[in-house]
């Protein structure tokens, strides 16, 4: 019965791509990240054996103490031949009894979505027998990726419960007496999210704004009816929460802020925007003093920008790559707050590219939008920056090229789920980022000493002659080359050899080296 329409299906699968690595995961991961962020929500994947590795990621990366509320309704050979029949329904009912969740989300996977089973029908039938609500995650596995699907699932759940409560007349539309806010987009397995939220809590406490709800992390779906009580919403991450914020704006006329409070400048812009919203709501506030005090005296990063340390960073070359939120924020910090020359900034969030380009159009010259890490590696090799700010993949590229890298965005490894307090948001976040950036570049004084004394590595340079074999270096020139700090040595070698080639010189002497250097400096 499932043999139908293979020819039609096949037509859609004809674009094959050779891939070694991907920046963002498949759609169902996004759905599972949202589902398992809520309290008492259980996700059931309609998936073959082994597709439940999300549980491994959550349990390992975030070192979760609780069992991940995700189980699979296994698609095996039997299901392939005869359909799931009662299996999915029984699994939903079983979880309802075992875990007593408030909501069960049935999550299709790549595999199950091409089976074209009527999952909605299973959901409808199961929900007749369960105490829990049952939803089918509404995501197209071949059209959207992890982040888009997370965004969509969160919206779907919020809409479902707002509508449900509307019917039951249990929506709480009355605003809180004093200003309050919903934070939308805090969820499992995001980059330093737990620390960012703590930092936001601190910030709002300082501003005398209460936090109404944080969704989805640790939120209960029974609380969703309280969403309209807040005065406004914030969406700190570009990738997740916007759909929900837009829905709430339409439905309840709730304004939202989608500025990421990352870096001193953006954090103050974020706070000013809050001020503006509160004033529109006839609540007179002025946060100027707060911003002033934080910037000048509490946070260290504004002063750092001014300090002589940071002077050494001026004009240094860097490249940035990551998700849209982080790549934009870090690029702005590097350029505006530290005077670093960002050669190019890029993102793998293709669907955010218009926003991305707009945000950075006057800040860096070149924009790179790609999901192909090979292309990113090529760009990095070509531009030879002094430091990279990127994901774990860029860190590995940097290792290969001997260029330091600060990790600023997912995808990440377990070491990017630190135990200690490491926010990227707010004023403490700005401190952390300043440290990260400063430590990624070779330290200023060290840099000078290396240049003067030819580096502290006295080891022979091992001539990995993947450069130009038709050229030979005199011993004196080799020795001089060895004196050049390791991290720029390859570049000098390449420049010199290119220079020699242009001049049709086959033996590189000291003189040629200096001539080449002069020419490069003159440029």
């Amino acid at each position: 019965m499932y043999n139908l329409n293979y020819s039609k299906l096949k037509k859609n699968f004809l674009f094959m791509k050779l891939a070694y690595w991907m920046y963002s995961g498949p759609a169902h991961i996004g759905t599972l990240r949202i589902a398992s962020s809520f309290k008492k929500v259980h996700a059931i994947m309609h998936a073959p054996l082994g597709d439940d590795y999300y549980n491994v990621m959550r349990s390992m990366l975030e070192r979760r103490r609780d069992f991940t509320p995700v189980t699979a309704s296994v698609v095996d050979r039997h299901v392939l031949a005869q359909g799931s029949k009662e299996k999915v329904i029984n699994n939903i009912i079983r979880k309802d009894i075992e875990e007593k969740p408030d909501l069960v989300i049935l999550t299709p996977t790549c595999t199950s979505s091409i089976l074209q089973e009527d999952l909605q029908n299973f959901v409808n039938r199961a929900s007749l027998e369960t105490k829990a609500d049952v939803l089918l995650a509404d995501v197209n596995h071949y059209r959207v990726n992890e982040m888009q699907s997370a965004d969509r699932t969160l919206e779907q759940i919020v809409i479902f419960y707002i509508n449900k409560n509307k019917k039951q007349n249990t929506i709480n539309r009355e605003k809180t007496t004093y200003p309050s806010v919903n934070i939308i987009g805090s969820f499992n397995l995001s980059f330093h999210n737990q620390h960012n939220i703590a930092e936001l809590k601190r910030l709002f406490k300082d501003l005398n704004i209460t936090i109404n709800l944080i969704i989805p992390e640790n939120a209960s779906i029974t609380d969703l009816k309280l969403l309209p009580k807040a005065w406004f919403n914030i969406v700190p991450y570009k990738e997740i929460g916007l759909l929900t914020a837009v829905f709430l704006e339409k439905e309840f006329d709730m304004p939202y802020i989608d500025i990421t409070p990352m870096g001193i400048v953006e954090t103050s812009r974020f706070i000013k925007k809050i001020e503006k919203i509160l004033r529109i709501k006839n609540f007179e506030v002025n946060f100027d003093n707060y911003i002033e005090k934080q910037t000048r005296f509490i946070s260290q990063s504004a002063w750092f920008s001014r300090s002589i340390d940071c002077q050494n960073l001026i004009g240094k070359k860097a490249v940035v790559f990551g998700d849209a939120t982080h790549a934009v924020a870090i690029t702005k910090i590097l350029v505006r707050e530290m005077g670093v020359n960002v050669l190019w900034a890029g993102t793998y969030c293709k669907y955010n590219q218009i926003w991305f380009r707009k945000e950075l159009e006057n800040i860096c010259n070149e924009i790179l939008i790609t999901e192909d890490y090979n292309l990113v590696a090529k760009y990095i090799t070509k531009s030879e920056p002094a430091a990279i700010f990127g994901t774990q993949m860029e860190r590995h590229i940097g290792k290969r090229l001997n260029i330091p890298c600060g990790v600023i965005s997912a995808p990440v490894h377990i070491q990017n789920f630190p135990l200690s307090y490491r926010p990227f948001f707010g004023y403490e976040g700005a401190n952390q980022i300043a440290d990260l950036i400063y430590n990624s570049f070779t330290l200023g004084m060290e840099d000078h000493l290396l240049e003067i004394f030819g580096g502290h590595d006295t080891k022979e340079i091992n001539t990995i002659n993947n450069f130009n074999n038709s050229l030979s270096w005199t011993p004196e020139a080799e020795e001089e080359l060895a004196r050049i700090p390791r991290f720029v040595r390859d570049k000098i070698r390449r420049n010199t050899e290119n220079f020699a080639k242009q001049k049709n010189i086959t033996t590189i002497t000291l003189e040629i080296m200096y001539e080449a250097k002069e020419l490069v400096t003159k440029k």
């Binding site: 096949k10 991907m22 069992f67 790549c110 596995h141």
Partner: protein, 440 residues
Amino acid sequence: MSNVTTEKLTFECETGNYHTFCPISCVAWLYQKIEDSFFLVIGTKTCGYFLQNALGVMIFAEPRYAMAELEEGDISAQLNDYLELKRLCLQIKRDRNPSVIFWIGTCTTEIIKMDLEGIAPKLEIEIGIPIVVARANGLDYAFTQGEDTVLASLTQRTNIKNNLNTNIENSFHKPLVLFGSLPESVVNQLTSELHKQNVSVYGWLPAKRYSELPIIEEGFFVCGVNPFLTRTATTLMRKKKCTLINSPFPIGPDGTRAWIEKICFSLGIKPFGLEERERKAWSNLETYLSQIKGKSIFFMGDNLLEICLARFLIRCGMIVYEIGIPYMDKRYQAAELNLLEKTCLEMNVMFPKIVEKPDNYNQIDRIHDLCPDLVITGMANANPLEARGINTKWSVEFTFSQIHGFVNASTILELILKPLTRKFMPESIKTNQYNTTQKS
């Protein structure tokens, strides 16, 4: 409790709701084993993301594997699977020039019925590189069974002429081929153990390189080194007309001895000095044994090594409550099951319950009731169990460690002992339970 014996091993089958790795993970160790190979996994983003996450750092070492990622595209129907795969394989040939390309079929290729076995022979001729097709998908198999599907397919290629020196005439017995992918040093250890008994190993499936695959002919003896190689064994018997030596697996000194003995008997050779060899191996383990004696263990089951590990650990004096296992081939594992029974009787312990296709949820309930000293489990359950005060060991480590033969028995016990001997942890932080939800 420990001196209760039942008459026979009991087998149960649960719902199959358990956590395990997808069988395509076999490319992780097979591409390293077969040095001139390239593995092309034909699947979706889900498969790719799994490999990327499960294999962690290895991905950055420019591995000899890649995904042929199937995507939805509005491309004209004039293109077809054949042309697409040809394009990718030519690219692989150009970039890596492997001696063989493995196509790993996935759930998606099964469902859309992509005819990989049909396309491969044609394309092979066209591009001039052998293509071996293996269907290592999550619809049919679990974790290590992936290797089984690859080796079963590889078996069909063992009649290709190669430059291996044949020494059939030189040995006293019919040629013996061992199957199962093991690290080179373990291969050498086992080969030399057999050599001491005047058994010469004609070849291994797989070999270090594709070009070194042994020719397998009718009448050869074959013997497996791992318990998950059912299909490979079947293919060798049916297609190659080989004689399978059904033996316990060379895990632990007891298993290794039984394995060698069985091979010797089958080849008509009288083994010698094995008893002494085993005794010596056990005496090397004495310090470990005193520490694990009487401790209880629970296998949740995910890699099919469970039966032989349990058998070895019972011999070590442990009590095994439950052996979860994804799939139980009672014929291929017959000798191993016999040895397990024998071991239980000799050690005077109750027979453990063998649970095929376990249900993790029920198992966790049983774990709460039984409070075993150690649970062997996958990474999805390890941290949550630790938070509930239960010692765990990741099952995956047994797959990736060297555990075969007399020499490596200590590795198994070291893995087992690691969580059991957190000596330096103060009681105040060791015994606290860290879970954040109350189980009702």
